[in-house]
Assembly symmetry: C2
Homo-oligomer: 131 residues x 2
């Protein structure tokens, strides 16, 4: 029985759950469910199933805490963000991250401050590498 399709990325719902786990650091089914918007109205067993599947896919690990399972993200949010951007850059931006930034800067309502902040970050990164 093959390990199916190496699933590298979170599905829509999995991302929804992982977002809460990242915010919490760790959490039970109940913890995550509680944090979802009230209008989400997902059955408890559905949430449990989603987390169990996420563990099968190695997106989270679990550990028994009394009678309940405590889930933890395997990958930090930072790392997953970077991974996702790399993938998107490759698939939709011809593998040139600069074109991604270009599109962001052109089309998003990014504030002057945000832009300046990013440039400062770049300067720091570039001089660091020069050393």
């Amino acid at each position: 029985m093959r390990q199916k399709k190496k699933s590298e990325f979170l599905t829509e719902v999995e991302l929804e759950f992982m977002t809460e786990l990242w915010a919490l650091g760790e959490g039970t089914v109940r913890d995550v469910l509680t944090r979802l918007a009230p209008e989400r109205d997902l059955a408890y067993t559905s949430a449990a199933t989603i987390l169990r599947i996420m563990e099968q896919k190695n997106f989270v690990t679990s550990q028994k805490q009394g009678k309940t399972l405590l889930y933890r993200p395997v990958l930090a949010k930072d790392a997953y963000q970077a991974k996702t951007l790399r993938d998107l850059s490759e698939k939709l931006f011809d593998g040139t991250p600069a074109s991604m930034v270009a599109r962001l800067v052109d089309d998003q309502g990014m504030s002057e401050d945000a832009l300046a902040e990013i440039r400062a970050l770049l300067d720091r990164r570039l001089t660091d590498n020069d050393s």
Copy 2:
């Protein structure tokens, strides 16, 4: 019969096809199929099905050219890129596009050249706004 789930984004394979259509401007099933990597080895009828579905979803339009259909993207690549970034920013970057750029810049896999290019882009944008 409801209009199902309003599908805003391309699936994996649809993006693969749309990428070729964007590069071509327009094209037939044969045109797109020819441009795919040889090892892709997709049946002609599969390609035709994918484009037909993409038309149902309003990602492309078609027009008869002799006996064959000529497909055209509905959305320009720029516009789709922007749309995708907006969605990603919202779902994975707390709705702050600047944090997206920050993550890109932090990523160790990014080349010196790419970083310099991004800074040039930002500089241009900032001086433009100063005027």
